[in-house]
Amino acid sequence: MSCSKGDQHGAAHVSCKEICQFLCDYVDHELPTAQRESFLQHMRDCGPCAEYLRQYESTIKACKKCMCPGHSKPPPPPEDMVRAIMKAMGK
Protein backbone atom coordinates (compact mmCIF):
# COMPACT_ATOMS: atom_id res chain seq x y z
CA MET A 1 0.00 0.00 0.00
CA SER A 2 1.34 3.40 -0.80
CA CYS A 3 0.39 6.75 0.58
CA SER A 4 0.83 10.17 -0.82
CA LYS A 5 1.97 13.22 1.06
CA GLY A 6 -0.31 13.85 3.97
CA ASP A 7 -2.97 11.34 2.97
CA GLN A 8 -4.26 8.46 5.03
CA HIS A 9 -3.89 4.73 4.82
CA GLY A 10 -7.15 2.92 4.46
CA ALA A 11 -6.14 0.25 6.94
CA ALA A 12 -4.32 2.25 9.56
CA HIS A 13 -6.24 5.54 9.31
CA VAL A 14 -3.14 7.46 10.29
CA SER A 15 -1.57 10.01 8.01
CA CYS A 16 2.14 10.67 7.70
CA LYS A 17 1.57 13.99 9.47
CA GLU A 18 -0.13 12.26 12.39
CA ILE A 19 2.72 9.78 12.53
CA CYS A 20 5.09 12.67 13.22
CA GLN A 21 2.93 13.68 16.16
CA PHE A 22 2.93 10.13 17.53
CA LEU A 23 6.65 9.55 17.12
CA CYS A 24 7.72 10.96 20.47
CA ASP A 25 5.06 9.09 22.45
CA TYR A 26 5.84 5.88 20.58
CA VAL A 27 9.56 5.83 21.35
CA ASP A 28 8.88 6.88 24.94
CA HIS A 29 6.34 4.05 25.34
CA GLU A 30 3.60 6.52 26.08
CA LEU A 31 1.37 5.80 23.08
CA PRO A 32 -2.02 4.27 23.97
CA THR A 33 -2.51 0.73 22.67
CA ALA A 34 -5.04 1.60 19.97
CA GLN A 35 -2.88 4.37 18.54
CA ARG A 36 0.17 2.16 18.80
CA GLU A 37 -1.47 -0.45 16.58
CA SER A 38 -2.36 2.19 13.99
CA PHE A 39 1.15 3.59 14.22
CA LEU A 40 2.76 0.20 13.66
CA GLN A 41 0.39 -0.57 10.79
CA HIS A 42 1.40 2.70 9.13
CA MET A 43 5.06 1.82 9.61
CA ARG A 44 4.54 -1.52 7.89
CA ASP A 45 2.91 0.21 4.94
CA CYS A 46 5.01 3.36 4.55
CA GLY A 47 8.70 2.97 3.79
CA PRO A 48 9.68 6.61 4.27
CA CYS A 49 7.92 6.77 7.62
CA ALA A 50 9.64 3.55 8.69
CA GLU A 51 12.99 5.04 7.69
CA TYR A 52 12.08 8.24 9.51
CA LEU A 53 11.29 6.26 12.66
CA ARG A 54 14.55 4.34 12.35
CA GLN A 55 16.52 7.56 12.13
CA TYR A 56 14.61 9.05 15.04
CA GLU A 57 15.39 6.02 17.19
CA SER A 58 19.01 5.96 16.01
CA THR A 59 19.36 9.61 16.97
CA ILE A 60 18.23 8.88 20.52
CA LYS A 61 20.46 5.82 20.78
CA ALA A 62 23.47 7.70 19.47
CA CYS A 63 22.78 10.53 21.88
CA LYS A 64 22.58 8.17 24.85
CA LYS A 65 25.63 6.25 23.74
CA CYS A 66 27.75 9.35 23.37
CA MET A 67 26.51 11.36 26.33
CA CYS A 68 25.61 8.93 29.09
CA PRO A 69 28.30 8.69 31.71
CA GLY A 70 28.12 4.91 32.04
CA HIS A 71 29.34 3.16 35.12
CA SER A 72 32.98 4.15 35.01
CA LYS A 73 34.18 6.30 37.86
CA PRO A 74 34.58 9.89 36.74
CA PRO A 75 37.78 11.83 37.37
CA PRO A 76 38.03 13.55 40.75
CA PRO A 77 36.75 17.10 40.93
CA PRO A 78 39.29 19.85 40.21
CA GLU A 79 41.05 20.93 43.36
CA ASP A 80 40.26 24.59 42.74
CA MET A 81 36.56 23.78 42.63
CA VAL A 82 36.72 21.82 45.87
CA ARG A 83 38.55 24.66 47.58
CA ALA A 84 36.15 27.26 46.20
CA ILE A 85 33.14 25.39 47.53
CA MET A 86 34.67 24.84 50.93
CA LYS A 87 35.66 28.49 51.11
CA ALA A 88 32.16 29.60 50.12
CA MET A 89 30.82 27.35 52.86
CA GLY A 90 33.14 29.03 55.33
CA LYS A 91 34.74 25.68 56.11
Binding site: C20, E51, K64, P74, A88
Partner: protein, 244 residues
Protein backbone atom coordinates in the same frame (compact mmCIF):
# COMPACT_ATOMS: atom_id res chain seq x y z
CA UNK B 1 7.14 7.68 42.64
CA UNK B 2 5.66 10.55 44.51
CA UNK B 3 7.11 13.94 44.11
CA UNK B 4 6.07 17.44 44.85
CA UNK B 5 7.09 20.03 42.32
CA UNK B 6 7.71 22.80 44.76
CA UNK B 7 8.93 21.28 47.95
CA UNK B 8 10.78 18.33 49.24
CA UNK B 9 10.97 17.40 52.85
CA UNK B 10 10.06 20.90 53.84
CA UNK B 11 12.68 22.59 51.67
CA UNK B 12 11.69 25.67 49.82
CA UNK B 13 11.61 26.17 46.09
CA UNK B 14 14.13 28.85 45.24
CA UNK B 15 13.42 28.67 41.53
CA UNK B 16 12.58 32.34 41.20
CA UNK B 17 15.83 33.60 42.59
CA UNK B 18 17.97 35.00 39.83
CA UNK B 19 21.30 35.51 41.50
CA UNK B 20 22.69 32.01 41.52
CA UNK B 21 25.84 33.10 43.31
CA UNK B 22 23.99 34.15 46.41
CA UNK B 23 20.73 32.32 45.94
CA UNK B 24 20.93 28.59 45.70
CA UNK B 25 19.04 26.70 43.05
CA UNK B 26 15.69 25.23 43.93
CA UNK B 27 15.62 22.04 45.85
CA UNK B 28 13.63 19.53 43.83
CA UNK B 29 11.57 16.64 44.97
CA UNK B 30 13.21 13.23 45.25
CA UNK B 31 13.00 10.90 42.32
CA UNK B 32 14.89 7.80 41.44
CA UNK B 33 16.88 9.12 38.54
CA UNK B 34 20.43 8.40 37.48
CA UNK B 35 22.12 9.59 40.62
CA UNK B 36 25.77 10.51 40.86
CA UNK B 37 26.25 8.10 43.70
CA UNK B 38 24.62 6.43 46.61
CA UNK B 39 25.06 8.72 49.54
CA UNK B 40 21.93 7.65 51.33
CA UNK B 41 24.12 6.72 54.25
CA UNK B 42 22.41 7.99 57.36
CA UNK B 43 25.69 8.46 59.21
CA UNK B 44 27.05 10.71 56.50
CA UNK B 45 23.88 12.76 56.38
CA UNK B 46 23.98 13.04 60.16
CA UNK B 47 27.53 14.39 59.92
CA UNK B 48 26.44 16.89 57.28
CA UNK B 49 23.52 17.99 59.41
CA UNK B 50 25.90 18.41 62.33
CA UNK B 51 28.01 20.75 60.20
CA UNK B 52 31.02 18.44 60.02
CA UNK B 53 33.40 20.19 57.60
CA UNK B 54 35.14 16.93 56.78
CA UNK B 55 31.83 15.41 55.71
CA UNK B 56 31.21 18.30 53.33
CA UNK B 57 34.61 17.84 51.77
CA UNK B 58 34.13 14.06 51.51
CA UNK B 59 30.89 14.56 49.61
CA UNK B 60 32.43 17.13 47.27
CA UNK B 61 35.39 14.88 46.51
CA UNK B 62 33.22 11.79 46.05
CA UNK B 63 30.45 13.30 43.94
CA UNK B 64 31.99 16.47 42.53
CA UNK B 65 33.59 14.84 39.51
CA UNK B 66 30.44 13.19 38.25
CA UNK B 67 28.41 16.29 39.01
CA UNK B 68 30.83 18.40 37.03
CA UNK B 69 30.56 16.01 34.08
CA UNK B 70 26.77 16.30 34.20
CA UNK B 71 26.95 20.08 34.38
CA UNK B 72 29.36 20.26 31.44
CA UNK B 73 26.98 18.14 29.36
CA UNK B 74 24.14 20.49 30.18
CA UNK B 75 25.97 23.79 29.89
CA UNK B 76 28.69 23.12 27.32
CA UNK B 77 31.02 25.34 29.26
CA UNK B 78 33.37 24.22 32.01
CA UNK B 79 33.44 27.51 33.88
CA UNK B 80 29.65 27.71 33.94
CA UNK B 81 29.55 24.06 34.92
CA UNK B 82 31.89 24.62 37.87
CA UNK B 83 29.73 27.50 39.04
CA UNK B 84 26.60 25.37 38.74
CA UNK B 85 28.22 22.58 40.74
CA UNK B 86 29.28 25.07 43.39
CA UNK B 87 25.77 26.54 43.50
CA UNK B 88 24.33 23.05 43.85
CA UNK B 89 26.62 22.04 46.71
CA UNK B 90 26.02 25.31 48.53
CA UNK B 91 22.28 24.95 48.08
CA UNK B 92 22.34 21.36 49.31
CA UNK B 93 24.54 22.06 52.30
CA UNK B 94 22.55 25.11 53.32
CA UNK B 95 19.32 23.13 53.06
CA UNK B 96 20.65 19.88 54.49
CA UNK B 97 18.46 20.19 57.57
CA UNK B 98 15.46 19.88 55.28
CA UNK B 99 16.68 16.69 53.61
CA UNK B 100 14.23 14.13 54.92
CA UNK B 101 16.22 11.09 53.75
CA UNK B 102 13.28 9.58 51.90
CA UNK B 103 15.49 9.47 48.83
CA UNK B 104 19.19 8.84 48.41
CA UNK B 105 21.31 11.84 49.18
CA UNK B 106 22.99 11.50 45.78
CA UNK B 107 19.62 11.59 44.01
CA UNK B 108 18.57 14.67 45.95
CA UNK B 109 21.86 16.39 45.20
CA UNK B 110 21.67 15.46 41.54
CA UNK B 111 18.29 17.08 41.18
CA UNK B 112 19.58 20.22 42.86
CA UNK B 113 22.38 20.26 40.31
CA UNK B 114 19.92 19.97 37.43
CA UNK B 115 18.10 23.01 38.77
CA UNK B 116 21.34 24.90 39.21
CA UNK B 117 22.20 24.19 35.59
CA UNK B 118 18.78 25.36 34.48
CA UNK B 119 19.28 28.55 36.49
CA UNK B 120 22.56 29.10 34.73
CA UNK B 121 20.95 28.58 31.34
CA UNK B 122 18.20 31.04 32.17
CA UNK B 123 20.56 33.74 33.28
CA UNK B 124 22.97 33.60 30.40
CA UNK B 125 22.17 34.85 27.00
CA UNK B 126 20.07 32.37 25.12
CA UNK B 127 21.65 30.75 22.15
CA UNK B 128 19.34 31.35 19.21
CA UNK B 129 17.89 28.37 17.46
CA UNK B 130 20.03 27.41 14.53
CA UNK B 131 18.79 27.20 11.02
CA UNK B 132 18.74 23.44 11.39
CA UNK B 133 16.60 23.75 14.48
CA UNK B 134 14.25 25.91 12.49
CA UNK B 135 14.31 23.30 9.78
CA UNK B 136 13.28 20.69 12.30
CA UNK B 137 10.40 22.85 13.38
CA UNK B 138 9.18 22.91 9.81
CA UNK B 139 9.13 19.15 9.94
CA UNK B 140 7.21 19.17 13.16
CA UNK B 141 4.63 21.42 11.64
CA UNK B 142 4.14 19.21 8.64
CA UNK B 143 5.41 15.74 7.97
CA UNK B 144 8.52 13.97 6.82
CA UNK B 145 7.48 14.36 3.22
CA UNK B 146 8.35 18.04 3.30
CA UNK B 147 12.05 17.32 3.60
CA UNK B 148 14.35 14.97 1.82
CA UNK B 149 15.23 12.07 4.08
CA UNK B 150 18.76 10.86 3.88
CA UNK B 151 18.80 7.11 4.15
CA UNK B 152 21.27 6.45 6.92
CA UNK B 153 23.65 3.58 6.68
CA UNK B 154 25.39 4.61 9.82
CA UNK B 155 26.88 2.04 12.07
CA UNK B 156 24.93 0.64 14.93
CA UNK B 157 25.00 3.31 17.69
CA UNK B 158 26.66 0.67 19.86
CA UNK B 159 29.56 0.56 17.42
CA UNK B 160 30.22 4.24 16.78
CA UNK B 161 33.91 5.02 16.45
CA UNK B 162 35.60 7.72 18.52
CA UNK B 163 35.45 10.32 15.75
CA UNK B 164 31.73 9.79 15.25
CA UNK B 165 31.09 9.86 18.99
CA UNK B 166 32.96 13.15 19.24
CA UNK B 167 30.97 14.56 16.35
CA UNK B 168 27.68 13.45 17.88
CA UNK B 169 28.64 15.18 21.13
CA UNK B 170 29.61 18.28 19.19
CA UNK B 171 26.31 18.34 17.34
CA UNK B 172 24.44 18.02 20.64
CA UNK B 173 26.40 20.95 22.05
CA UNK B 174 25.46 23.02 19.01
CA UNK B 175 21.75 22.63 19.63
CA UNK B 176 19.97 25.60 21.10
CA UNK B 177 20.03 25.66 24.91
CA UNK B 178 16.33 24.84 24.96
CA UNK B 179 16.72 21.80 22.76
CA UNK B 180 19.89 20.55 24.40
CA UNK B 181 18.38 20.91 27.86
CA UNK B 182 15.27 18.91 27.08
CA UNK B 183 17.35 16.12 25.52
CA UNK B 184 19.65 16.09 28.53
CA UNK B 185 16.78 15.89 30.98
CA UNK B 186 14.73 13.26 29.16
CA UNK B 187 17.21 11.13 27.24
CA UNK B 188 20.34 11.39 29.36
CA UNK B 189 19.24 12.17 32.90
CA UNK B 190 16.14 10.07 32.24
CA UNK B 191 13.62 12.22 34.03
CA UNK B 192 10.14 11.22 32.95
CA UNK B 193 7.82 13.60 31.14
CA UNK B 194 6.04 14.78 34.28
CA UNK B 195 9.26 15.34 36.18
CA UNK B 196 10.71 17.26 33.27
CA UNK B 197 7.61 19.43 33.10
CA UNK B 198 7.94 20.21 36.80
CA UNK B 199 11.64 20.99 36.62
CA UNK B 200 11.21 23.26 33.61
CA UNK B 201 7.96 24.78 34.78
CA UNK B 202 6.12 23.94 31.57
CA UNK B 203 3.22 21.66 30.70
CA UNK B 204 3.56 17.97 29.89
CA UNK B 205 2.31 18.74 26.42
CA UNK B 206 4.98 21.40 25.98
CA UNK B 207 7.64 18.95 27.13
CA UNK B 208 6.58 16.45 24.47
CA UNK B 209 6.50 19.05 21.75
CA UNK B 210 9.86 20.52 22.71
CA UNK B 211 11.47 17.10 23.05
CA UNK B 212 10.20 16.03 19.66
CA UNK B 213 11.53 19.20 18.05
CA UNK B 214 14.85 18.79 19.80
CA UNK B 215 15.24 15.21 18.62
CA UNK B 216 14.33 16.25 15.09
CA UNK B 217 16.86 19.06 15.24
CA UNK B 218 19.53 16.62 16.32
CA UNK B 219 18.43 14.11 13.71
CA UNK B 220 18.88 16.74 11.02
CA UNK B 221 22.35 17.57 12.30
CA UNK B 222 23.42 13.96 12.46
CA UNK B 223 21.89 13.22 9.10
CA UNK B 224 23.89 16.05 7.57
CA UNK B 225 27.04 14.68 9.17
CA UNK B 226 26.41 11.13 8.07
CA UNK B 227 25.76 12.28 4.51
CA UNK B 228 28.88 14.47 4.45
CA UNK B 229 31.04 11.74 5.91
CA UNK B 230 29.79 9.17 3.50
CA UNK B 231 28.06 7.14 6.18
CA UNK B 232 24.66 7.63 4.63
CA UNK B 233 23.11 6.15 1.58
CA UNK B 234 21.36 8.09 -1.12
CA UNK B 235 18.88 10.59 0.11
CA UNK B 236 15.25 10.13 -0.47
CA UNK B 237 14.68 12.94 -2.94
CA UNK B 238 11.21 13.22 -1.56
CA UNK B 239 8.68 10.77 -0.42
CA UNK B 240 6.89 10.71 -3.73
CA UNK B 241 9.98 9.34 -5.46
CA UNK B 242 10.89 6.76 -2.90
CA UNK B 243 7.66 5.11 -2.08
CA UNK B 244 7.31 1.45 -2.85
Amino acid sequence: MAMGPRTMGGTVDLRNHTNTASSPASVPAPVEVAAPGDFGDAALVARLKAGDARAFEDVIRELGGRMLATAVRMLSNEDDAKEAVQDAFLSAFRNIQNFDEKSKFGTWLHRILINACLMKLRTRRRKPASSLDELAERVNGGNHAELPIASWREKNPDELDDETRARVREEIQHLSDEHRTIIMLRDIEELNTEETAQVLGISVSAVKTRLHRARLALRERLSKYFVESGQAGGAYGGVEDSRP
